[in-house]
């Protein structure tokens, strides 16, 4: 083969190998690391998978927050007014977390329909509502 062509071939091969490595990494990275969002109504209806990493969002039910006296364990309920899911979490809650406010939690459902959250996100200013929550509320409103 002509040396110039050979060199070109090697460069092309290197690019192909590296981009395949990139694609491989991407598909590996995507496995189990992307979370689908479910509104409470879908969780109650049994549409959400158990034991898989998902996100749940809605409004925190008034009067539902229960704290432990000895640790940072906390329980609360999240609703989209078409369904309500109990959530368990251990840790510090975000500044704007409160009853009657929008919230998105990441975690897994256990067998009894309780959502075990490992991360709780609230909105980050007064006027902001997580879009997933806003849409879920809107969808639930239409169903009623």
């Amino acid at each position: 083969m002509h040396p110039k062509r050979k060199k070109r071939l090697i460069v092309v091969l290197a690019v192909v190998v590296l981009s395949s490595a990139g694609v491989g990494l991407v598909s590996y990275g995507l496995r189990g690391n992307i979370n689908l969002f479910y509104p409470p109504a879908d969780v109650v209806a049994g549409k959400a998978p158990v034991g898989q990493s998902i996100r749940l969002g809605g409004m925190v039910v008034e009067g539902s927050i229960q704290r432990s006296d000895t640790s940072l364990d906390v329980r609360f309920e999240v609703t989209d007014y078409a369904g309500t899911v109990p959530v368990k979490y251990s840790g510090i809650l975000p500044d704007l977390f409160d009853e009657g406010q929008g919230v998105v939690a990441a975690g897994q459902l256990d067998g009894e329909g309780v959502f075990l959250a490992h991360e709780v996100l609230a909105k980050h200013d007064e006027n902001y509502m997580p879009p997933e929550v806003a849409e879920a509320l809107e969808a639930a409103g239409k169903k009623q």
């Binding site: 110039k4 690019v15 189990g32 969002f37 980050h124």
Partner: protein, 657 residues
């Protein structure tokens, strides 16, 4: 009247920008010298009008003119003066005006400092910059007018600036970041002008390179400041979240890093030309994409001020015009400026090509992760989120892949190198990296395979830099003349690579050895963390200029010896009622101690408290600063100065002739 003058100045800026776009470009094709020469005064006028407009908006903020919608929504009479100043860009409209100011400042700087360019090139570069200006000034005027009035019901006081943005870091983070983001428009303009003229050579790369390096250095510092701000202001102790908006600034940086390296090859060796042009287009397009993602409200983040479909549409169309137009131009003209491969297999060109491919793949994987949720949502496949695990799994191995090449790149020759010359120093580097990797982790918490690996990689990079200096000294006795002989570009590379090595160690060590505890602490209670004893002494009420809150006291001791007293705060801002966590940090070269308060629990004065021990976390920002500093050092290179000196002399020489 201030607002009306500001709006008038902005309209004048749009008109001058239109002139700057049309006249020099037309003249460059018609061969009209006067028209091309008009580029400079037009750029000056454009910058002046935008600067006036920006100064007037700033005045409105400082004077608490709540008849302006942006001032009423984002400021308050109780806000300290320097935050009133930074509140100018703490909102969508004002930050767009800052963006425009920075763009026009770059345009004017090019007009001032690149006067030695061939006339046609000079006119076209400024014309392209002017066109970008038209796009953004139009965006500001038509969709997000910063001077809109609240009439007739003028509020008595403003709604206050988002407390998260009331921070010294936020005074400098956006301007520095924008300098980088927008600065890539210069590289883009040079690329377009070169494509139009079909002239793509080493001289072109030499003109474009200092501008690109400067923009890249600003972007590096801007991202570093953002990371630092998130660390101490968000109260989570994290320094990088792979938040879509962080990615929006990171993608142009990755493409820009590839561009900076590829420009070096184009300047030194005259190859990779079309590739370099493509990267310049990509870097700026990714800046625009970032603007679109942040400003359209399609992403949720602290940076998304307000969702407005009209704005999103405007930027999307602008983005499509810029990307589409430049790619069409590239497709038409790039073959004309193509160059063959002229280097041997083992050469610095090959290694830099490898660097480019890795950075490009990294850019694409980050782009994919960022756009994936939008794509799935648009296809009706549900609402996904792609979290840090994806980005870490993909990005970290790619960056590690760079390091083997970084360790040999500096002492590999251009064009062709012999393995024989090259093998011995490579062996020495490899052995020292292995030894350091095996031993240095014991300075910390003992052997850890990831820490060992990061030390190995970092030392491999540093050993490569050291080897190069040693090879350069070979034959001479004294160090000083050797060091002095090296160019500014060379020192820039040294600093940047050193900074990268520091970042590798820091990111790994802080990830592996970070200790973090969320606790319920009553007054008098203690907690032990990585050999430090934290004692909580309770919290008491405090009052600030525009907030009330509680301040906790935590003392830290090691074996009974007092190390630090930390006073984290929980604030509630008066005007907005928003609650904010102010973390308290004892910063150190080898470790940070970080305390943040959650909320008051129960009756006994107990609080939820977050305690962190973060080893070497500062190295990350020091490293990133070194990288940015390296970029700035390259600007001092004599090659770039000589050109301008020659240009300044030329009129006299002409007069003598």
């Amino acid at each position: 009247m201030i607002a009306e003058y500001g709006l008038f100045a902005l309209i004048m800026a749009l008109i001058t920008a239109c002139g700057l776009t049309a006249i020099p470009m037309w003249a460059s094709f018609a061969g009209n010298g006067a028209g091309m020469n008009a580029a400079r005064p037009l750029a000056a006028a454009n910058f002046t009008f935008v600067a006036i407009s920006f100064a007037l908006l700033t005045t409105a903020f400082l004077q608490d003119d709540f008849s302006l919608v942006v001032v009423a929504n984002n400021s308050n009479s109780l806000l300290p003066a320097f935050y009133k100043f930074s509140a100018v860009w703490g909102n969508h409209e004002g930050s767009m005006l800052l963006w425009i100011l920075v763009l026009c400042a770059w345009t004017f700087a090019v007009a001032l400092f690149s006067a030695d360019l061939p006339q046609i090139m000079y006119a076209r570069v400024l014309s392209v910059m002017g066109a970008i200006g038209v796009g953004f000034i139009g965006f500001s005027l038509f969709t997000s007018n910063p001077f809109a009035r609240n009439l007739p019901d003028v509020p008595l006081d403003g709604k206050d600036l988002n407390p998260l943005l009331q921070d010294p870091g936020l005074i400098i983070h956006p301007p520095v970041l924008y300098m980088g983001y927008v600065g890539f428009s210069v590289a883009f303009a040079f690329a377009i002008a070169a494509l139009l003229g079909g002239r793509l050579d080493a001289a072109w790369a030499r003109w474009s390179r200092p501008w690109t390096n400067a923009a890249w250095a600003f972007l590096t510092l801007g991202i570093m400041l953002g990371s630092w701000w998130a660390y101490y202001e968000l109260g989570w102790g994290g320094w990088w979240f792979w938040d879509p908006v962080e990615n929006a600034s990171f993608m142009p940086w990755l493409a820009g890093t590839a561009l900076v390296h590829s420009l070096a090859v184009t300047e030194k060796r005259g190859v990779f030309k079309s590739w370099t042009v493509l990267l310049a287009i990509a870097s700026f397009s990714l800046s625009l994409l970032g603007t679109f993602l942040v400003r359209s409200g399609v992403l949720t983040s602290v940076h998304a001020f307000a969702a407005d479909p009209e704005r999103g549409m405007y930027i999307l169309v602008f983005l499509l015009v810029v990307v589409g137009g430049s790619l069409v131009l590239y497709a038409l003209r790039a073959p004309a400026v193509n160059s063959g491969i002229r280097n041997a297999w083992l050469s610095r060109e090959t290694l830099l090509l490898f660097n480019n491919v890795v950075f490009l793949v990294a850019t694409l994987t980050v782009l994919f992760g960022t756009l994936f949720p939008l794509l799935m949502d648009a296809l009706g496949q549900g609402k996904y989120s792609v979290g840090p695990p994806y980005f870490n799994a993909v990005f970290v191995p790619l960056m590690a892949l760079l390091v083997p090449v970084m360790g040999i790149g500096p002492f590999t020759r251009w064009r062709e190198d012999r393995a024989k010359r090259w093998m011995h120093p490579a062996w020495v580097s490899a052995v020292s990296a292995l030894i350091a990797g095996a031993l240095l982790p014991f300075l910390g918490q003992g052997f850890n395979v990831w820490v060992a690996l990061s030390v190995l990689l970092a030392v491999w990079i540093i050993a490569g830099l050291w080897t190069d200096l040693r090879l350069k000294k070979a034959g001479s006795h004294a160090w000083w003349p050797v060091l002095r002989r090296q160019s500014a570009s060379y020192w820039g590379m040294m600093f940047a690579h050193l900074g990268f090595a520091m970042c590798i160690i820091s990111v790994t060590v802080v990830t592996q050895w970070n200790v973090e505890k969320d606790l319920r602490m009553s007054p008098g209670q203690t907690a032990d963390l990585a050999g430090y004893r934290f004692e909580f002494h309770g919290a008491s009420a405090i009052t600030g200029p525009n907030f009330r809150g509680d301040e906790g006291v935590v003392t830290v001791t090691v074996d009974g010896r007092r190390v630090a007293e930390l006073r984290p705060q929980k604030r509630q801002y008066v005007a907005s009622g928003q609650i904010m966590t102010e973390a308290a940090i004892d910063a150190g070269f080898t470790r940070d101690l970080y305390v943040a308060m959650g909320e008051a629990l129960g009756q006994d004065g107990a609080w939820s408290v977050r305690l962190h021990y973060k080893p070497l976390v500062r190295w990350m920002w020091i490293g990133a600063t070194l990288i940015g500093f390296g970029g700035f050092i390259t600007l001092l290179d004599r090659r770039y100065r000589r050109v301008s000196v020659a240009a300044r002399q030329s009129p006299e020489e002409l007069a003598h002739a």
